[in-house]
Symmetry: none
Subunit: 202 residues, 4 copies
DNA sequence: CATGAATGAGTATTCATTCAT
DNA sequence: TATGAATGAATACTCATTCAT
């Protein structure tokens, strides 16, 4: 961790922050490298000292986001011994720091929507894997709950879990896209939590 | 309805079909007008006889899709006098003909994700309005059910409805994006339906 | 001169009139064949029954104009036995029907200005030839006047004639381009005539 | 005047020189930006670093030319106290550096001839204004000469001046278009000068 | 003869990327 | 290391011309 490395990393973060901001404002295809350079207050050439191509920017952005999330999910497993509580905590987690995600949502959309771009960035794969790990978390917790008798046994863990994942993504996405009032959204989350709890508890 | 009008309309449909196919395969930005022309087996120039610009293609595609949906929602209101049944039918409707929608999902993503593009196509507006009409449908049915005593009265119709809309969109989207096995998805829908019914029924 | 030929000729004239009108309004390069067809109230395809290419239109227009002028110049030679009078009549001729020419002036400019276009239309050649025949007319008259003793003998006929041709073209062109008041322009012509007469008369 | 500014201005001149050369050879509409880039020995993209659009090239070319002329006209007023001499000097000025103008004449023609192009370049306006300032110069000198008794008093200054302007433009234009022998043209100018002098002197 | 739908060659402009300084 | 001037591949759209009806 020489000072040079720190500098490099700091500069990479500056660039990413600028990129996120500009991508959020104009979208990936409408953003020029020059825009990002200007936002980051450096020359166009400098960007290429830190990122080989334009595509590497969203690639890196997504990588960091997913990494963050995975770490937090792992924590829940450790801190919530009760499966039902863990599930509800997992739901909460999906809606945490959503305002931060909101900036990146359009970028995710645009990249996922463009297969050619997606192929070279590999977001789909990462995204699926991310959802899959969330799914696995729920499956595991449900099955644990069932074997402990807290969760109704005639519930298909894989099916319910996957439905829950889609639901959470849908709700989070709508929040990010349509900028609900925080209270309104909190109420929705509350209703969902309530519904899920009463549906799965035996 | 002279033969010429029939021809024109048929040709527009041909072009739209080709456009949908190519957009689905490569994404909007990666699709060249030449690609669409080739797919539609006609010259580039011909495309411009039927659509003024490239942007007019997704615009038209979205317009037709949304129109279809609105008509079907109206039918449900008429054919399902029972509110709970109407709600469940509405849920079913969201998952009907999903394979057709699947082709267009990436296009929707890409356009929604790119603010600049979205502004000139106006998809966001249409899309929000579409979700809003679905939301209204659920709100209306829930309130009707509450006044008839079939639905628990301590449920906030606007909050539950909006959560349900996000949920349905999330599930439909995941189906379109990740190409679930039909049976697997049907099972998810079944669980959702079951959960919703037992949650709202008094 | 069967009726068919008359019809053909009439239709050609219709097209040329439309072409002149549209060329005058928008210029050659900005005029689409479709514009001319619309102005002439016929189909685009019909134009091609009467003129092989777009370039043939200005070619024909110029041809007719020059032909007209040549005929009129010949008349002067026959009707004005007095050389000085003939010269002044030649000057007058250049300013006759100028309003009709005014429509075509921009077209002439645009074609003369574009060497590539000019090459294939051959306007430069025609135009030079036209000016040359006017020049010859003046040369001939001046020399006749000199041998008859009416025109000062120490005047170089070729030099004065060519200067006069440029002058006439300059004045006619400015009238066409800048749309002088007729009286203002008539006064200019009068001054020129007066100056020329007093300069050449012995 | 940092070195960068010097470079930029030099490069602009290089491009303009190339543009003038190619426009002269093929005409505005027939000239591709690639042609100019090749002539200037740089990439197409570089042109756009210095000029936003193709139209900006003739716009700039005309601007520089007109500016030059205005400056020179002002000098004459100061250096020629005698009105008749000033007028003759003005005439001479119009024929100075004509070979340089010759390259641009076709471009002027093409732009003036195409209303659509002219509108966005604004050449007509500049050109009229230029002629008007020349006209004003002559009007002023004639009237000064008349009040000093050197110029015949029964001469309408505005009418004669405007006629003279058209004449000068006509002669200059024909020289540029038809590439007269310099001696032949000088003789024409000499005759014109002689004629004007003897016509206006009292 | 008349038509206008179909065509595709042709072009201004953009922008990711490079590299000399 | 930082820069931004230079580059040219890439692409939507136009329009003269053709030809089936």
């Amino acid at each position: 961790m020489s000072p040079k490395i720190v500098d490099r990393e700091a500069k990479r973060q500056e660039i990413l922050a600028a990129a996120i901001a500009v991508f959020a404002e104009k979208g990936y295809h409408s953003t020029k490298m020059a825009d990002i350079a200007q936002k980051a207050e450096m020359g166009k050439g400098t960007l290429y000292e830190y990122f080989r191509t334009k595509e590497e920017l969203p690639k890196t952005i997504f990588g960091l986001m997913i990494q963050d999330f995975d770490q937090q999910i792992s924590k829940i497993e450790q801190t919530h011994p009760d499966p039902v509580e863990a599930i509800l905590a997992g739901i909460q987690l999906c809606f945490q720091d959503l305002d931060e995600f909101a900036h990146v949502t359009p970028l995710v959309f645009e990249v996922l929507g463009n297969k050619e771009l997606d192929r070279s960035i590999g977001l789909s794969e990462d995204f699926e894997q991310w959802l899959e790990s969330l799914n696995q978390f729920f499956v595991t917790q449900i099955q644990a709950g069932q074997s402990q008798g807290q969760i109704v046994s005639d519930l298909s863990a894989p099916i319910f879990a996957r439905m829950l994942v889609s639901t959470l993504d849908g709700m989070a996405t709508h929040y990010c896209l349509f900028h609900f009032q925080p209270e309104f959204f909190a109420a929705q989350v509350s209703v969902l939590t309530d519904m899920v709890r009463s549906y799965i508890r035996s």
